[in-house]
Each structure stands twice: as structure tokens, then as C-alpha cells.
């Protein structure tokens, strides 16, 4: 069993900076949990506390049912992949992979066998004699994954492991990571600021902002029923349109949220919530057309219409969203109303 539990975990730096505040979170055995949020939201600090690189100011962390608060990073049986990969530049790929095993005084033959296995799984066999400086970004990332995998730890901690790569490689490695998780079924905690990465990878997602955990749920739950305006805006691309109630014929104490992809030309949709905008910028992407415009009250609205929609800049467009897809938030607190 290798579940990770945060119990009221708080981390303060100095007297006035609260990085993580009273975090309660359970990551189930074998689950891939994504911590997502804007930079400075405390997600990396939370991860570093699991690794033992930071000590919680209050609260406790348990890994596999064992309280790890007093344990050094090396004694926690977790492996971490860093954003910078943190490969030892003076060692070859082979020695980088073997390093954690040698520190545990593992038998030489066993180390050789594991290095060969991991190298084969990650297609690193040809690169074993090279040093990190002689590898491409993608190769380095795979070596960093390999160094984590080789220990067969109870949990993997990944701190923005793909953010230094270009978009194409990122999506390839994302798929590779997902396959790897399906194969190993080891608990993983994955930190990212990229909501697309969070949505595509996570079994569950924990959205954080300013040290607080806002919502935990499956990608569908987070996308379909965001708990407040922040989560609503943070998840989904382009971001959800948030309009003051009076702009769409509702009360002043309500903020109405409509995802750009749920808006349709009013002619195609009977009923629902109607909205008229003047198109300002039209971006045809082939499969979709993004229309950026404003309501008469001056509120910005983005609509993602089917590729065959014909809209010109300056044109008045009548849009509508199905009633079931309209979100309502408290105008004052930002909390979801139902």
C-alpha cells in the first residue's frame, strides 16, 4: 500500500509568507494525482514536503500509512523527477541510473540487471555511456524518469517534468507517462501549472491557489462542476466566460459562467441562455472557429463555434448556451451556487 495523506499540512516561510495552508488531501494507492495551480500557489512546496526537502510548519504527512515527518528524504522511499531533471553532470547515463541503487548498497549484479531493464524500457540502451550534456532535452527527461523508476519506490513525485520541452515532445512524453503509469500502477503525484497536462494525465486533480486547496476531483468533475470562479476560469481553454448576472438577464448577486465550447449560434438552439455579441476578432482553426467579441454592456465573450460557422469581424452574432451548461456563482464570494 502506498497512499499519501496530507493532514492539516501548513508551511510558512518566515512570519508572513504562507506557502501551503491547512492542506488535507488523500492520494490513493496507485493513483495519479495532479496538483495544479498558478505559480506560487504552493503545489511544489506540497510536493517537496512529501519528498522531505521541506518540513511542514504544522500538520503531518503519511506515506503508506507511515508517518514520515522525522524521516530524511532518502529514507522515505519516494523518487522525484525535477523540472531541471537534476541529472548528475559528471556521471554517465549508466552511473546516473545506478546512483540510487549504489547508495542503498545493492548487489552489483542486481544493479546491472535493473539498469539494463530500465534502459530498455525507456529506450536508453544506446545512450548509457553518454554524459547528460551530450543528450537532447527529451533524452534527459527519460534518464530522469529512469533514475526514479529504477528504485521501484512506493511513490513518484514529479515536479513539472515536461515544462522544459517543446510542445510536440511534451505531448509525446505525456502519452508515454500515462502508459507508464497504467503499467506500473504506482502512486504518482504530479505538479504542473498547465491545466491541459492536468486534465489529460490525472486520475484526479487538486486545484490550488495561494496555498489553499480549492477543489479535488476527476477531470470531468473539475471541468463540469467547478467549485468557484477561480477553478472555473483556470480549467478549460479558452477560459470560461464569466458575465455579471444583469448582462444576461439574471440577478445582480449572480455571476454567470458559460464555457466557450457550449455556445452555439442561436438559430441552432431553441431555449437556453441567449446572448448577443459584436464579433471583434475571428480565428478560424479549421475544426473550430474562435470568435472574440463583446456584449452591448462591454463584457468580453469568447465562443468556440463549429468549423463551418461563418462569422465576420464587426458582425452581430446571436449565441445561446443550453441551460444545463450554464454555471452560476455568487457574485460576492465567487462560490458555486448549485
Amino acid at each position: 500500500m502506498s497512499e499519501v495523506e496530507f493532514r492539516g499540512v501548513t508551511k510558512r516561510f518566515g512570519d508572513d509568507t504562507v506557502a501551503v495552508e491547512a492542506l488535507d488531501l488523500d492520494v490513493a494507492d496507485g493513483e495519479l494525482m495532479v496538483l495544479v495551480g498558478p505559480s506560487g500557489c504552493g503545489k511544489s512546496t506540497a510536493l517537496r514536503m512529501v519528498a522531505g526537502l521541506e518540513r511542514p510548519t504544522a500538520g503531518s504527512i503519511r506515506i503508506g500509512g507511515r508517518d514520515v515527518d522525522g524521516l530524511s528524504p532518502g529514507a522515505r522511499d519516494v523518487a522525484m523527477v525535477f523540472q531541471s531533471y537534476a541529472l548528475y553532470p559528471h556521471m554517465t547515463v549508466r552511473r546516473n541510473l545506478a546512483f540510487p541503487l549504489r547508495r542503498r548498497n545493492m548487489d552489483k549484479a542486481e544493479i546491472g540487471r535493473r539498469v539494463a531493464d530500465v534502459a530498455e524500457m525507456l529506450e536508453l540502451t544506446e545512450l548509457l555511456h553518454r554524459k547528460p550534456a551530450q543528450l537532447s532535452g527529451g533524452q534527459r527527461q527519460r534518464v530522469a524518469m529512469g533514475r526514479a523508476l529504477i528504485r521501484e519506490p512506493v511513490a513518484f513525485l514529479l515536479d513539472e517534468p515536461l515544462s522544459n520541452l517543446d510542445a510536440k515532445l511534451r505531448s509525446e512524453l505525456r502519452a508515454g507517462l500515462k502508459r507508464l503509469h497504467a503499467r506500473l500502477s504506482t502512486t504518482m503525484i504530479y505538479v504542473t501549472h498547465d491545466q491541459v497536462e492536468a486534465m489529460t494525465l490525472g486520475d484526479r486533480i487538486a486545484v490550488m491557489d495561494r496555498g489553499r486547496l480549492l477543489q479535488v476531483g476527476t477531470p470531468e468533475e473539475i471541468y463540469g462542476r467547478p467549485c468557484n470562479e477561480f477553478v472555473a476560469r483556470f480549467v478549460g481553454s479558452p477560459a470560461m466566460n464569466l458575465l455579471p448576472g444583469p448582462a444576461v438577464g439574471e440577478g445582480a448577486n449572480v455571476t454567470v459562467g458559460i464555457r466557450p465550447e457550449t455556445l452555439r449560434p442561436a438559430a441552432e438552439l431553441a431555449g437556453g441562455l441567449a446572448l448577443e455579441i459584436v464579433a471583434e476578432v475571428v480565428e478560424p482553426l479549421g475544426s473550430d472557429v474562435f470568435v472574440h467579441g463583446r456584449t452591448d454592456a462591454g463584457e468580453e465573450v469568447v465562443a468556440r463555434l463549429p468549423g463551418n460557422a461563418r462569422v465576420a469581424a464587426g458582425e452581430r452574432v446571436a449565441l445561446a448556451a443550453p441551460g444545463a451548461d450554464v454555471h452560476r456563482f455568487d457574485a460576492e464570494t465567487g462560490a458555486r451556487l448549485r
Partner: protein, 259 residues
């Protein structure tokens, strides 16, 4: 080129003087091309005092000081660079401030301490005060701070203790700084004259620099023998430089960390 010629002039003059006759060495203006090459200055210089012993003494003192500096300055430098402890920055500033105190101020207290330890007139008197230097701590601390913290954190997660991190990750990546400290300590210790002059009184504990001084008397200086001795005393430093420089360049090439 002209600048290089100016820099080389003293060296050339030293080499020329070392193979001249005594009369030529005292001639004014100086003779740049000697009448003949008098190699006998070298055996004469080395035979005029137990230079073999002096070299051995200098070598022991220098190597011990280099080793001491590399080990102790690494430990202290790492502590100042990475460990969090009460008063760290204040202690470091005080340490830096000691760099501004001239040796002439501290030599008598140092002598008293060495005397108290019973080391006067032994090689220990030359080694002990030089085992660790504020300059070395400062140099390594500054270098350690430039290394990515991620590497050290990765090593800790991979199972290294703090000392393990220092010896397995930090020091192998700090070869340029260690080579620099090694060279500088070697030069300082090998060339040091004043402290050995104070701490050593017997011939069998003397260093090369004290031996060379014996060519300079109150009434006359045997320049040819002095320069021949100097050329021989210079050889180890040149060797160290040639070797350490190659290492230096290799280390810089190997630290291509990110890309």
C-alpha cells in the same frame, strides 16, 4: 606581444643570471648575452646547503597545506553555502573581515599559539596555521552557491547524507574551484618566506625559501647561485601549473549542466 615580452623579462633575466659568472652578474648595464654558459652554478648552488632536505621539507609542508585546505575549506565552505544555522551570515562576515587583517598583525599571536602547541622549529609549525584559510572558505562557498540546488536535493532523495552529497556530487562538480584553490595554496605555501623565517630556526627544518636566503649575506649577494637556486625552486610550481591547468579546462568542459 610587447606586453608578453615585458612579463617574460624578469624570468629571462633570472635564467641568464643563473648561467653567468659572478662578475657578469654584477656588471652594469646588465649583460643579456653571457660570455659562456656556466652550468656549474647549479651544482654549486645545490651543494652549498642541504637543498635536498629543504626541498623535501617544502614539499611536505606544501602538500599538507594543499590537502588541508581542500578538505577543510570544502567542509566549511559547504556549511556556509547550504546549511542553515544560527548566526551563519554574521560568522561569515567576520570570517571575511579577517582577510583584511595583515599577516604582520597576526604573526606574533600565531607564533604564541604554535609555541603553546609545542610546534616551534618543526614542520608542524608551518603546516598547522595553513590547514584552512578564510580565502579558501570564501572561494569554495561562492562556487558551491552557483551549483544547482536540484542536484543536491536529487542526491538526498537518492539516499545520500549531507556529507555524501558533498563528496559524491558537489566536490566532483567543483573541480575548477578546487584546482584554483590547490594552485593558489601551493604557490603561497611554497613561496612563503616570512612565517618559516619566524617559526624555524634549525637548518634541518628549513624550507627552500629559507635556503635561498642564505645566498644573500649582509655584505654581498651571490646572485648567480641565488638565481640558479631560484630556477630549481620554480620547477615544482611550473609543473603544478601545467598539470592543474589541464584539469581546470577539463572540469569546465564537463560542467555543461543545462541546455
Amino acid at each position: 606581444m610587447p606586453l608578453a615580452a615585458v612579463m617574460l623579462l624578469p624570468l629571462v633575466w633570472m635564467l641568464v643570471t643563473s648561467v653567468e659568472t659572478l662578475a657578469e652578474s654584477r656588471h652594469f648595464p646588465p649583460t643579456i648575452v653571457p660570455s659562456g654558459i656556466h652550468w656549474e652554478n647549479y651544482p654549486n648552488a645545490l651543494d652549498s646547503a642541504p637543498f635536498g632536505r629543504f626541498f623535501a621539507n617544502s614539499l611536505v609542508v606544501t602538500l599538507a597545506s594543499v590537502a588541508g585546505n581542500l578538505v577543510f575549506c570544502s567542509l566549511a565552505g559547504y556549511a556556509f553555502a547550504r546549511l542553515r544555522f544560527f548566526g551563519r551570515d554574521v560568522i561569515f562576515i567576520v570570517l571575511l573581515a579577517t582577510l583584511m587583517v595583515p599577516f604582520q598583525v597576526t604573526m606574533i599571536p600565531t607564533f604564541l599559539i604554535v609555541q603553546h602547541l609545542g610546534l616551534v622549529n618543526s614542520l608542524g609549525a608551518l603546516i598547522a596555521p595553513n590547514l584552512v584559510t578564510p580565502f579558501g572558505i570564501f572561494l569554495l562557498r561562492q562556487f558551491f552557491r552557483t551549483l544547482p540546488v536540484d542536484l543536491e536535493e536529487a542526491a538526498r532523495i537518492d539516499g545520500c547524507s549531507r556529507l555524501g552529497v558533498l563528496f559524491r556530487v558537489v566536490l566532483p562538480l567543483s573541480m575548477p574551484a578546487l584546482a584554483t584553490l590547490g594552485i593558489v595554496t601551493f604557490l603561497w605555501t611554497w613561496n612563503d618566506f616570512l612565517w618559516p623565517l619566524i617559526a624555524i630556526s634549525s637548518t634541518d627544518q628549513s624550507t627552500v625559501q629559507l635556503g635561498l636566503a642564505s645566498f644573500q649575506g649582509a655584505h654581498q649577494t651571490r646572485w648567480t647561485l641565488l638565481m640558479a637556486g631560484n630556477v630549481v625552486a620554480l620547477a615544482p610550481m611550473l609543473l603544478v601549473f601545467v598539470f592543474a591547468q589541464r584539469w581546470f579546462v577539463q572540469s569546465i568542459a564537463a560542467t555543461g549542466v543545462k541546455g
